[in-house]
């Protein structure tokens, strides 16, 4: 028992420390410009202050109601799909009740039911029922995940680890119970401890009964006479029945124990019941210790995330991001908390509007569930390499901010806020969208703009199919420049450095690279007026699109990583 208690306390300690550490990170890590303005201390103080304010206000009622809807009934998950909801309810409630009726039976049930014994019904049945429920849920979840894998490979190490841990706990639990059922040594021990008689004859009769009714596998042969069976039953009623119901109610373990009849002597001899007990509780405690470091941290982060979202007056089903609100010290904290609430369920990616793009481009950061992983990494370690940032940037700027992911996230994460702030963070690091990188002022701050360092001296694009024929027709009439709404002046908007006519001229001369760097190409609002009015049928807007496509593909795919300087990591200083 020492080992049991000892490992429990160690696991519990590790778990608690882990939880403190993880929650601490909510105030330490930052994402986006909002984080930079507020110190860790300020964020913690502000969060505590807000919590106190909320608890002592009417908002607490709204939060309570939200908790019932989101945690007890898990309605957002139901909205995402019945199969998912069912799987998770089975796992969640199965495990919860296993905790109540089994793991913490002595602590939670005994005070209310003094006659509690784990070997009594309905506990046999309940244990098996909830255990089976969990296994059923797991199988559904695995099937679901495999189904989804057809769309994208969305299973990480943490997902597999989660399945394994639960699998081991449940598996070892059922096996343990089965092995305990057949265990002759355990029977002997119990007889020694609890039987009020040591009459060998009576013991034999009891054994007969137990072998027959309780599937204990004894060495040697036992009587099969009815008289002995009945006598055994009387003995059972006298000494055992108070604490032992028929294990047939254990509708999983009992059939398993029946299957173990042939290896039973071997198992009993080697005290499999003890070994499996170790395996079982050590697995449970391992799970407990690993809780804050595994996927199961969501048990803590999700309810808190929901409560915080509700408290931040974020509206109901549509979960609109809190627009127009000045980011305060709680904003950054909320983002990190949101990152922690992700269970990698992938529902966001299934609903993502730009998921078909992923199928063509292959950049995983396009998918919300994967993008979040990148962002999480960046929040923990802001200094990432060019490859990472480029990949994340590519995916980030494909997002159209349709908010579907935000609307379906069952963890209540305001994904849209995360995407927006990540875009800002990337801009500041010099990994903004291609437009802003190409429009960045070239004057003076040249060396400070990582994008420019990258592009300078590199040939962005070469000649390509389809453009030469069009270009030869240009007579430089300048109708395109006249109709273009962007080539204009005002007191604050300077004239484009080149007009469409001039860009076309550069292209006619084969100076594609220079043309692609022109402001005009990136400031084009794609209104198609130039193409429409061109008297020579030149597809000017389409040509500009073509140039943009080529620059994008060059920036993201062709410029080698080796040419990146420290500037990319810091996003500014070149020394």
């Amino acid at each position: 028992m020492m080992i049991f208690t000892g490992t429990f306390y160690i696991a519990a300690l590790i778990c608690l420390l882990g939880i403190f550490w993880r929650t601490g990170l909510w105030f330490m890590n930052g994402l986006g410009p909002e984080a930079l303005h507020f110190s860790h201390g300020k964020r913690l103080a502000s969060a505590v202050g807000s919590m106190i304010r909320v608890v002592f206000s009417f908002r607490i009622l709204k939060i309570m109601r939200g908790l019932i809807r989101d945690i007890v009934f898990q309605l957002p998950l139901l909205k995402a799909g019945f199969a998912r909801w069912l799987a998770h309810m089975c796992i969640f409630y199965g495990f919860l009740f296993l905790l109540i009726f089994h793991a913490l039976g002595d602590q939670l049930i005994l005070p209310f039911y003094p006659d509690y014994a784990s070997t009594l019904n309905p506990f046999f049945f309940l244990r098996n029922f909830f255990g089976a429920l969990v296994i059923f849920g797991i199988l559904m979840a695995v099937a679901n995940r495999m189904q989804r894998s057809k769309k994208f490979h969305a299973t990480h190490g943490t997902d597999v680890a989660a399945f394994i841990i639960i699998g081991v706990i449940l598996g070892s639990g059922f096996l343990l119970e089965a092995v305990q059922i057949i265990s002759a040594p355990m029977f002997d021990q119990m007889v020694e401890d609890y039987m009020g008689s040591d009459d060998p004859g009576e013991i034999e009769q009891l054994k007969t009964f137990w072998a027959d009714q309780f599937n204990v596998v004894f060495p040697g042969t036992l009587s099969s006479l009815d008289a002995d069976l009945n006598a055994g039953q009387d003995l059972h009623e006298a000494y055992c029945a108070a604490c032992h119901s028929s294990p047939r109610a254990a509708f999983v373990s009992y059939p398993v124990s029946r299957m173990l009849r042939s290896p039973a002597p071997w198992l009993n001899y080697h005290r499999a019941d003890i070994w499996l007990w170790y395996v079982h509780f050590l697995a449970c405690f391992a799970g407990l210790a690993m809780l804050p470091f595994s996927k199961f941290f969501h048990l803590i982060s999700i309810p808190i995330n929901w409560m915080v979202s509700a408290a931040a007056e974020v509206k109901g089903a549509h979960r609109t991001a809190s627009e127009g609100v000045e980011p305060g010290p709680n904003t950054a904290t909320r983002y990190i908390l949101g990152l922690d609430a992700c269970t990698h369920c992938g529902i966001c990616s299934v609903n993502c509007s730009v998921e078909p793009m992923y199928r063509v481009i292959g950049n995983t950061a396009i998918l919300p569930s994967e993008k979040l992983g990148f962002i999480k990494k960046m929040a923990e370690h802001p200094l990432q390499d060019n490859d990472f940032l480029n990949t994340l940037a590519r995916g980030s700027f494909i997002c159209t901010e349709c908010h579907r992911c935000t609307a379906v996230c069952p963890s209540g994460i305001i994904l849209a806020d995360l995407w927006k702030t990540t875009k800002k963070a990337l801009e500041e690091k010099g990994y903004g969208n291609v437009h802003s990188r190409m429009l960045a002022p070239m004057v003076d701050k040249v060396s400070h703009n990582p994008a420019f360092i990258e592009l300078r001296g590199k040939t962005l694009i070469g000649k390509g199919p389809g453009m030469e024929k069009d270009l030869a027709d240009c007579i430089q009439c300048s109708i395109c420049s006249n109709v273009c709404p962007v080539v204009t002046t005002g007191t604050d908007i300077p004239l484009q450095s080149q007009t469409p006519q001039q860009v076309l001229n550069l292209l006619r001369m084969g100076l594609m690279d220079l043309a692609a760097r022109s402001d005009m190409v990136w400031n084009c609002t794609t209104c198609y007026k130039c193409q429409e009015y061109c008297p020579q049928n030149i597809r000017i807007t389409d040509i500009f699109y073509e140039l943009r496509n080529r620059v994008t593909s060059t920036l993201y795919e062709e410029i080698p990583k080796s040419s990146q300087s420290a500037a990319h990591r810091k996003g500014g200083d070149v020394s």
Binding site: C477, I479, N482, Q498, N537
Partner: protein, 431 residues
């Protein structure tokens, strides 16, 4: 939304000066009409309407009499398009055309027996038959002795007040002034300038810059960028603020008066119920029979088939791509009609640039009803007509009769078509 197939009585191919005029004349007559063409070519118009500007019979500017010249041409050059029309038709065509423009708020003025005097952006003097209202004051200003101010806008290509002053100075006193409203150093396209002039604060700013230079000036001339639409309001408000008449001087193409013309014509076609397939071309002619034509229309790829009983070919010359030239010769782009052209490519151009060039007389020969001729000298089809600069024997750039020929021949072709539709006997079968 456009259908994939459409039918009409008359299909006008080409949306330049002749094509749009033909479509409008036909619309006014109640003929069910469709037009296909790149209307933005009209932006190359200067806004001036030449009837006949250069002929040996024409005296110095003050006696520049276009109608007399037209009459003379009809006698001297019996092949010229004007010779195929009664004078009355030319008058009628022009007056109807100008009244159509008037309906759209684009007023033109003329002196009817004498050409109007205008300044070009090079500073030379030119005469023309009709000018937009914005340019009209120029004529009066040129006929009086006092100097006027010429203003240019920084960034506007092809218009320099100083150059105008230097060139025009010997003929008429004027002063040059430059205005900068862009605060930038690049090209400032005419349309953008014109849009800026539509704003009151910009106008006020410009007026304030000019006022100190108005001493003794009878008028102020601007490049023709005073507003894209509502140009009269813009011009008159400036005139009011400056206290002197304000006029527009034609600019190099693409010009705003050309754009105003395009807008007016396109809007009028809408009102006349003309089915417009603008910014598209006839890509191929699928069928030609005595019953009519089937033309396939699109911009780059076939999109619509138009069935019509008659066609007016107004596809223009080289710029309009009505005629295509290669190393061997010229061909007509849509129907492959025979093109009158010099026998040899060597004979296309004169060695001296400012002399006549034979190539400029090339084009389609027609009968008296403007039906283009086949190689046997007979009309290619009873319901196929040709108008505008695609017509042969018409060096319109040298004679300065472009608009006049386009409008008058368009009018005549539409009338011919109308008559053809009323003819009862079977026309010649074409395969």
């Amino acid at each position: 939304m456009k259908e994939n197939n459409t039918t009409c009585d008359l299909l006008v191919i080409g949306a330049g000066a002749a094509g749009t005029a033909a479509a409008l004349f036909a619309g006014k007559k109640g003929i069910s009409t469709a037009i296909v063409g790149i209307a933005s070519h009209l932006r190359f118009a200067s806004g001036l309407m030449d009837l006949m500007d250069t002929h040996r019979t024409m005296g110095p500017f003050s006696q520049n009499a276009p109608w007399t010249a037209v009459q003379a041409i009809r006698t001297e050059l019996p092949e010229h398009p004007y010779a195929k029309l009664p004078m009355e038709t030319v008058r009628l065509a022009l007056s109807q055309y100008l009244s159509i423009l008037e309906d759209e708020g684009l007023t033109y003025h003329c002196r009817s027996h004498e050409n109007v005097q205008v300044i070009t952006s090079a500073g030379t003097l030119k005469t023309t038959y009709a000018v937009p209202a914005g340019m009209w004051p120029m004529d009066a200003v040129l006929r009086q002795p006092h100097p006027f101010l010429v203003v240019d806008i920084k960034g506007l290509k092809g218009f320099s007040a100083k150059q105008i002053m230097n060139t025009l100075g010997p003929h008429h006193p004027c002063k040059a002034f430059s205005v900068d409203i862009s605060q930038a150093s690049g090209d400032f396209p005419a349309e953008q300038i014109a849009r800026m002039f539509e704003q009151g604060d910009i106008r006020d700013h410009v007026v304030s810059l000019i006022r100190p230079n108005l001493q003794g000036m009878a008028a102020v001339g601007f490049p023709s960028v005073l507003g894209v639409c509502n140009s009269e309001t813009v011009r008159l408000s400036m005139a009011e603020k400056l206290g002197v008449p304000v006029f527009e001087i034609p600019t190099i193409p693409p010009s705003i008066p050309g754009q105003r013309l395009e807008t007016a014509l396109v809007n009028q076609m809408n009102k006349q119920g003309v089915q417009a397939f603008l910014q598209e071309k006839v890509l191929s002619v699928d069928r030609v029979s005595n019953r009519g034509f089937e033309c396939v229309v699109g911009r780059l790829h076939p999109q619509t088939t138009i069935r019509s009983r008659g066609v007016i070919l107004a596809t223009g010359r080289f710029f309009g791509k009505g005629l295509m030239a290669d190393r061997k010769g010229l061909r007509e782009a849509v129907f492959n009609l025979p093109v009158l052209q010099p026998e040899d490519r060597k004979l296309w151009h004169n060695k001296h640039f400012l002399e006549e060039h034979a190539i400029n007389q090339a084009g389609l020969e027609t009968d008296g009803d403007f039906r283009p001729l086949a190689s046997d000298g007979q009309p290619a089809h009873p319901a196929l007509f040709a108008t505008g600069s695609i017509l042969a024997h018409n060096d319109w750039m040298r004679k300065k009769c472009g608009m006049g020929v386009s409008i008058a021949t368009a009018y005549a072709a539409v009338s011919s078509f109308e008559r053809a539709m009323m003819v009862k006997e079977q026309p010649i079968e074409i395969g």
